[in-house]
């Protein structure tokens, strides 16, 4: 059994929907990347280096080319290049979604979304990357051991979003104790006695690994797709990683047989536009990454 047959397990599309799905994902991906630069750099307006201004302008033009469609492959090559520059310029502190965006963009640049065999391989590759990211997100939480007794959630209470969301799940005295802890040697224990929260903590890593597995068989794919999107939406309450959330949910929807993703383009674009308007101060401030 070769690698090709492993990838073939990820097939499963209604006839004639592959191109439509890929185009929808291309547009969402390009808009996410563009919005990332706009929301990040608008906040630092007046404090940008020449290279950052060039990257900002380049990403805007390249995203427009992807949306237009005619020059999408060279545009994706450009987006992969800009994301590589970004990762390099912030090395080693660039967020993982930048690497993922570079990988997605590279796939779109290297494979023709209209050519039969390349189109099939392109869709398989994108789905495969979703599985890898989802599975390892769970595995990393398991192997480092900070989610087994809720240690990570206890530690993360120093963050506003986590504090607000998790307070109802903790007894008041435990919440007070955990939020008063520091990061000096001897501080702790960052352990949670609340059973619902410990269960939630373990459900997160387990869900990520199991859902990655359930995305493969066609029989469980639709359920896994919906559940993964629900998991992403739930984690947004805590993490507010809006760009990664939109992008990864869109990538997950590539697994659906139908081209439902096409109907998500306008809502995703509207949400991303709203985030830019937040940064411009036109919409009220909400914290997001």
């Amino acid at each position: 059994m070769g690698f090709e047959s492993v990838l073939a397990r990820l097939d499963g599309d209604e006839p004639g929907t592959r191109h439509s799905k890929l185009r929808a994902f291309q547009i969402i991906l390009a808009l996410v990347v563009c919005t990332e630069y706009w929301t990040k750099y608008l906040r630092r307006w007046g404090d940008l280096g020449a290279d950052e201004v060039v990257a900002w302008a380049a990403v805007t033009v390249l995203a427009a080319a992807v949306v237009h469609g005619r020059w999408r492959r060279p545009a994706f090559a450009g987006l992969a290049l800009v994301q590589t520059w970004y990762v390099w310029s912030l090395f080693p502190m660039a967020g993982n979604h930048r690497y993922l965006e570079a990988a997605f963009a590279l796939a779109f640049a290297g494979l023709d979304d209209e050519d039969g065999p390349e189109q099939v391989l392109l869709l398989r590759s994108l789905r495969y990357m979703v599985l890898v990211v989802l599975f390892y997100s769970g595995l990393q939480k398991l192997v480092h051991g900070y989610w087994l007794r809720g240690q990570f959630l206890a530690w993360s209470l120093w963050l506003d979003n986590f504090r607000t969301a998790l307070q109802p799940l903790l007894p008041p005295e435990e919440f007070t104790r955990l939020t008063s802890l520091g990061w000096s040697p001897g501080d702790g224990p960052y352990l949670i006695s609340s059973r619902p929260l410990v269960l939630l903590s373990n459900a997160v890593w387990l869900s990520e690994m199991v859902l990655a597995a359930l995305l493969v068989p066609r029989a469980t794919r639709a359920f896994a797709c919906v559940a993964t999107c629900a998991l992403i939406a739930g984690s947004e309450v805590l993490a507010r990683e809006m760009m990664f959330g939109i992008e990864f949910a869109a990538a997950t929807l590539l697994f659906l047989r139908s081209d439902f993703l096409r109907r998500c383009v306008v809502p995703a674009a509207a949400l991303l536009a709203a985030l830019v308007l937040v940064r411009l101060g036109i919409f009220p401030e909400v914290g997001f990454h």
């Binding site: 080693p92 502190m93 993982n96 590279l106 990211v133 390892y136 997100s137 990570f152």
Partner: protein
């Protein structure tokens, strides 16, 4: 589609799946940040920045003294090291900072840089400190 193109894509996808396993090894062995470097370990462990304790060696009878206040010109170098350390763990060594210190303070003949890394022990849930000391001589 050419066989070469197909093979390149396959190779890329295999590396894409193997790298996070290597990354877990880097996290376990050298304290690389699981949030960074495409290991997909976001939110899997606390990220706590390290602190530095710097001492200078002198050739006179003083011998060694702690450097309590860093010259403002060296702040960017210190910050760059701490940032690299947060991402790369003990793979990031303070060689550049040591060189900058030796250049800035010509009277000293060596520096000791102690990196104090707070670590949350997952078993006890208590913060511990892991220290590594680097010595550089002129």
């Amino acid at each position: 589609m050419s066989a070469l193109r197909r093979s390149v894509v396959h190779a890329g996808l295999i590396v894409f799946a193997l790298w996070p396993a290597v990354h877990i090894g880097l996290v376990k062995t050298w304290g690389v940040n699981p949030w960074k470097l495409a290991g997909w370990g976001m939110y899997s462990a606390p990220q706590i920045p390290a602190e530095l304790r710097i001492s200078c060696f002198t050739p006179d009878e003083v011998g060694v003294y702690p450097l309590r206040v860093l010259a403002p010109e060296l702040e960017a170098t210190r910050h760059a090291f701490l940032r690299a350390r947060l991402g790369l763990g003990s793979l990031a060594r303070p060689t550049g900072l040591a060189r900058a210190l030796l250049d800035h303070y010509p009277a000293i003949d060596g520096v000791s840089i102690e990196v104090a890394q707070p670590v949350l022990n997952p078993r006890t849930g208590v913060i511990a400190e892991r220290t590594t000391t680097y010595e550089y001589r002129r």
